[in-house]
């Protein structure tokens, strides 16, 4: 139980994918303009991350490792994730049209999101078991959600304020992102403090 908490909490706070590992920066900057689209995108990311891990982990352990072709990891994972997302999109459109509509264009965008590929590869690098990998993916997704929601609030303030001309637009956003990232660095000792390692 404690181990589960450590994996999830460190994936959300300490090793936050966006703000600490700088993976998935593109949707973080691109889709955080509005709160509802930020939440929709993040939920899609959580879903796809967990599903992608559930599929790629057995492929790595059952196919690539025994045949000693680990160097095919990247291309095989990209192929599998892309096909998987497409399949999820088709079935959502058929069976849960409302969810499909709210996720909209973000679902296919996730196909080539580096955060999703990153989490599947990192799970294997960290030598997690299957269950631990799923937990880590879920935590990473929730961390993405947290970063997106926090940042969309800040974006709202940026949009509604008068900046010097040189800072207007993306520079102001990037500076704000760096400050949010700075605050997340403060979490680095939290897990040790909580669980006493």
């Amino acid at each position: 139980m404690q181990e589960m908490m450590i994996i999830i909490l460190s994936a959300i706070l300490v090793n936050n994918f966006v703000l600490v590992k700088f993976l998935g920066i593109c949707p973080f900057l691109g889709v955080s303009k509005k709160l509802d689209s930020a939440v929709g995108m993040s939920l899609a990311v959580i879903f796809v991350m967990v599903l992608a891990t559930a599929v790629t982990y057995p492929i790595q352990m059952g196919l690539l490792v025994p045949l000693q072709i680990g160097y095919l990891q990247t291309i095989v994972f990209i192929l599998v994730i892309a096909a998987l997302v497409q399949l999820v999109e088709i079935s959502l459109k058929k069976y849960v049209p409302s969810l499909h509509q709210s996720l909209g264009v973000y679902l296919p965008l996730i196909t080539t999101n580096c955060a999703v590929l990153g989490v599947t590869i990192l799970n294997i690098d960290e030598k997690y078991t299957f269950f631990q990998s799923l937990l880590n993916s879920f935590g990473a997704g929730v961390g993405f959600l947290l970063a997106m929601v926090l940042f969309s609030g800040i974006r709202q303030r940026i949009e509604n304020n008068d900046f010097p001309a040189a800072f207007k637009g993306i520079p102001a956003v990037l500076i704000a992102a760096s400050i949010v990232s700075l605050s997340f660095m403060g979490f680095s000792g939290v897990i040790d403090g909580l669980f006493g390692h």
Partner: protein, 290 residues
């Protein structure tokens, strides 16, 4: 031999993925309803949401799926009678006149009647100004006058006059975009036949309102006592009309000591064709490139 296994595996996976997707696409295909496509073509395409659905496409889909015709075909107020007739003929239902609606302004605080509490120099929109303290007006619920409503109006029906949004009754089609844009919720969408409007939304007690605004509702309840139809009540320190009960007798307007209850003139003649939107907006999604 060492080439065959990896090449074979990637090929096999590609073929497998392609095969699964092809099968899935075939078995789980969603066909766009023909009726829905026709209805969508008939609608104005403003995506304003006046019908109560998320957009024109949503309304068209709902109409096409609704086999018992429980959803009315005349909900598109911007389209008016012409669109309602076209939609009814596509669906094969009896034509009913469109229920026309109109926007009303629930603040009368122009510059000569009330004042600003601050010299605001920030981003010049109502939304930004509202975030700063509680807006620049001396009255919390006053029109902020930056024209967020003017910017969203596709029909050129609102303008800012003397710091106050003024709605042109003859251009307004009742789409409600301005009502959503106003951070003080000062604009309400009401039936077209409405003649009586309370031009105040102040939540301050009467004494405070009197000090900061020359015309604000002082919550004296005279209108409440005058109304024979139980249609007007003082809620949150200002009078609110229930338009399902109001009979347009204008008795309350005559009694009002601050003259904040206005009487609109009756339209000279109902406009035959409602104007088309100035710029039809389509839903835009910000799609970042990965």
């Amino acid at each position: 031999m060492q080439f065959i296994i990896p090449v074979g595996i990637v090929t096999a996976m590609g073929l497998l993925a392609g095969g699964i997707l092809t099968i899935a696409d075939k078995f789980m295909a969603v066909q766009m309803d023909e009726t829905a496509a026709k209805v969508l073509a008939a609608l104005p395409g403003a995506n304003c949401g006046a019908c109560g659905f998320a957009g024109c496409a949503d309304y068209a889909n709902a109409l096409a799926k609704d086999e018992e015709h429980a959803i009315k075909a005349n909900l598109c107020t911007p389209g008016g009678d012409a669109v309602a007739m076209e939609v009814s003929s596509i669906l094969g239902v009896e034509f009913e006149g469109a229920s026309s609606k109109i926007a009303i302004m629930k603040c009368s605080g122009s510059r000569d009647r009330t004042s600003y509490a601050m010299d605001y120099q920030g981003h010049q929109t109502c939304k930004a100004n509202k975030l700063f303290f509680r807006g620049r007006g001396a009255c919390e619920m006053a029109c902020l006058g930056f024209g967020d409503c003017v910017n969203v109006c596709a029909y050129d029906a609102i303008r800012i006059e003397n710091g106050l949004a003024v709605i042109n009754k003859y251009k307004c089609v009742g789409c409600g975009l301005c009502a959503k844009a106003c951070p003080n919720a000062l604009i309400e969408i009401v039936p077209d036949k409405t003649r009586v409007v309370v031009g105040c939304s102040s939540v301050d007690p009467g004494k405070v309102t009197r000090e900061i605004c020359a015309i604000g509702c002082i919550a004296c309840k005279l209108c409440e006592k005058t109304c024979k139809f139980d249609a007007i009540h003082v809620i949150n320190n200002h009078a609110v009309i229930d338009y399902t009960k109001c009979k347009n007798c204008t008795a309350c307007a005559k009694k009002c000591p601050t003259n904040v209850i206005h009487v609109f003139p009756r339209p000279v003649s109902a406009p035959q064709q409602k104007p088309k939107p100035v710029a039809a907006e389509t839903a835009q999604v910000e799609a970042p490139a990965q």
